[in-house]
Amino acid sequence: MRRLAGSAAPLFLCLWVCLAIVPLAVGAAVSVLQRRGLHVVWSLTPAGYGELAESGRFGVVLHTALLAGLVSLVCLAAGLPLAVWLARSAKSAVLANIVWICLTAPFFLDPAARTLSLRLMLGAHGVVNAGLLALHVTRAPLDWLLFSDFAVFIGLVGPYFPNMVWPITLSVLLIDKALLEASADLGAGPWHSFRFTLLPLAMPGIIAGLVMTAIPALGDGVVPALLGGGRREYLADAVTSLSTSMNYTAAAALATVVMAVLCGLCLSGWLAWRRLSKS
């Protein structure tokens, strides 16, 4: 059995690298190749990036990244207390179980159908506007509720919220209860216990949550397509339009830019964390 495992592990890793890792490298490679018509020529050129700059797609990446960042920060702010509550202080096991189920199911809901339903709710004649009108919050239906950054934000926060809560809850569950008791015993109030004990110990979960929220939100195609309204291009729109026009070098360049931005974010986050944990 051990011998079997010994040979299966490298085989699996090779397959994994071929299937999942090589494409990432290929993207970076293709992005600097020259394109002639629909074909790719083996000579190096930054033309793909030039095309991106011309069509203003760096701005698209930046705008989508800001939106995804905002989404994940909101998810973190609301998800951290919920995760701590789920892992530590939920008085009622039944309620905690219900919340867990509610947070598990969204992984499995069809994104198109849910987003479509949200579109019907947010429209000028939708239930949200009707409710606001009935409560006399506004005089006329709010037109920025749908086909706007706001709509995309709302559409993204919900589905990716569980991605934040899950890993944080798991990491808080793994913290020994005795450590928080020791912290209180040493005179740390709720804030100090949180800042000096819980937060650093939950940091792996928080980082996992940020990655698992921000990155899918960045690349989500359904929500911008159905709620964005087409007035503004989002990252997924750019990827789709570049690839449907068979402009593979520019598409690969776009993918590489996204990866570079993400690597930069991860690196700076890691450095920030190291400085934070040192002080």
Partner: protein
């Protein structure tokens, strides 16, 4: 300081509950619309089950549905088979933990639509694979496997390794140890990995757009109908209401199993 902190935490906790509710508002609305006379108006009213009747009569969604079920089943099995050995070995791994984890989690760090595009170009151009059912299975596997592995690891990291050692010490051969001690202990993780594999594949859209070729899965079908403002949308509402109910049930099973082991 502490009072302000407590107030802020309570406020944010309320926001957390609010966002949880926000996830379900569209789903509940969807369910309401699916039994309404005119779902596309966006308003419920005029209770009818006729859309469910025409759903059961209609044929368009069946082939994508069956295909999605099959693909999701295969992905689930692959996920379990590939997640159990590394998760079992993890606590005993001396070197390479971090690089292994980084390698597995790296694709999670790339937006699905970007990865779909890259995977499509690489497999198609470099490996000459034709896009179809198998490329869907593989791209879904790449998507679901990290989740499956994490759910296995949550269980193996909390399982006492001395249990297996005790069994071995009492004279059980390796296979008996596996069947009698380890598999029962790992069962929540196995169920979790399988469910993640199944349901993440079942609802996968951004990668499928690129790796599906001519093959249509259920999410591809729904997305096409939804973007085309098709008359089939009413049926999609019905279908998704049913799927939501099924996934809530599946989630309930998953949560109860995982919590029994971890809490």
């Amino acid at each position: 300081m502490d009072a302000a902190f407590r107030a802020a935490a309570r406020l944010l906790l309320a926001a957390g509950f609010g966002i949880t509710a926000l996830i379900y508002a569209p789903v509940a609305w969807l369910a309401l619309l699916s039994v309404s006379a005119d779902p596309l108006s966006g308003w419920p009213g005029g209770f009818t089950t006729s859309w469910y009747a025409s759903l059961s009569a209609s044929l368009g969604w069946r082939a994508p549905m069956l295909r999605s079920l099959g693909i999701a089943g295969i992905v689930a099995i692959l996920c379990v088979l590939a997640a159990v050995p590394p998760a079992r070995a993890w606590p005993r791994m001396r070197r390479g933990r971090v690089s292994f984890a980084a390698l597995i989690l790296l694709p999670l760090g790339v937006p699905g639509i970007v990865l779909g595009l890259l995977v499509f170009t690489t497999w198609r151009v470099l490996f000459g694979v034709h896009m179809g059912a198998w490329s869907l299975v593989l791209s879904h596997f790449i998507w679901a496997y990290p989740f499956a592995l994490i759910s296995m690891l949550v269980v193996t990291l909390r399982t006492d390794p001395s249990l297996a050692e005790a069994a071995r010490d009492l004279g059980a051969p390796p296979l008996r140890v596996l069947c009698d001690i380890e598999l029962p202990a790992l069962m929540p993780g196995i169920v979790g990995a399988g469910l993640f594999g199944f349901l993440l594949s079942f609802t996968e859209l951004p990668r499928s757009i690129f790796t599906g070729g001519q093959v249509q899965t259920l999410p591809l079908y729904s997305f096409a109908q939804a973007s085309a403002h098709s008359s089939q949308i009413k049926l999609i509402f019905c279908l998704n209401t049913l799927i939501s109910l099924a996934s809530l049930a599946a989630a309930a099973v998953l949560v109860v199993l995982l919590r029994r082991r971890t809490a």
